[in-house]
């Protein structure tokens, strides 16, 4: 994203928008994680308590999804930088 042609007021406005989006992104990550890890790890409803096996699965699922997102984010940023250099505006 290139905001170099934005004046001060416009950059200040975009900063607020980006902060709000980051909050929303975090909350969506949170609810995505809960849904995805619950769906994968919890398959026994003969009890209402999480088993230790389910809890381990949830913790690993969360940890792994975050690391996955970070790795995708890093590669995505590299791709975008490359795309820019290849002469896109």
């Amino acid at each position: 994203m290139d905001f170099s042609n934005f004046n001060g007021a416009e950059q200040a406005h975009m900063t607020k928008v980006i902060e709000k989006r980051q909050m929303q992104d975090f909350l969506r990550l949170y609810s995505n994680l809960v849904e995805k890890c619950f769906n994968t790890c919890c398959n026994d409803f003969t009890s209402k308590a999480l088993s230790s096996k389910e809890e381990t699965c949830i913790m690993n699922c969360t940890e792994k999804f975050i690391k996955h997102s970070e790795r995708v984010g890093a590669r995505f940023a590299e791709q975008n930088a490359e795309n820019m250099n290849q002469g896109g505006s």
Partner: protein, 100 residues
Amino acid sequence: MSFLRGGSSAPSGGVNIDKIELAVTELDTVTDFFNRMVQSCHSKCISTRYAEGDLNKGESVCIDRCVAKFNDVQKKVGEKLQSRGAANAASGAGGGFSPI
């Protein structure tokens, strides 16, 4: 969602925009969790034969346990995210979950 609430001071009169925005975000977040819980517990507990319109005994018990487990998962994942978020903040890193 208590971690959404910051320490901003509210003026005694008029409408505090930040407070409203936070409340709306909290409302939308709770609604989003609820909707996902409805979807997840539906796929875990409800038979898709649809021979009748009432919940049978097994489905009802399954729903109650499903909601309890979903709630527990929400807490566990929240704790994990907060501990990671705190670690990232301490190291000065931005988090890196999203591309912006």
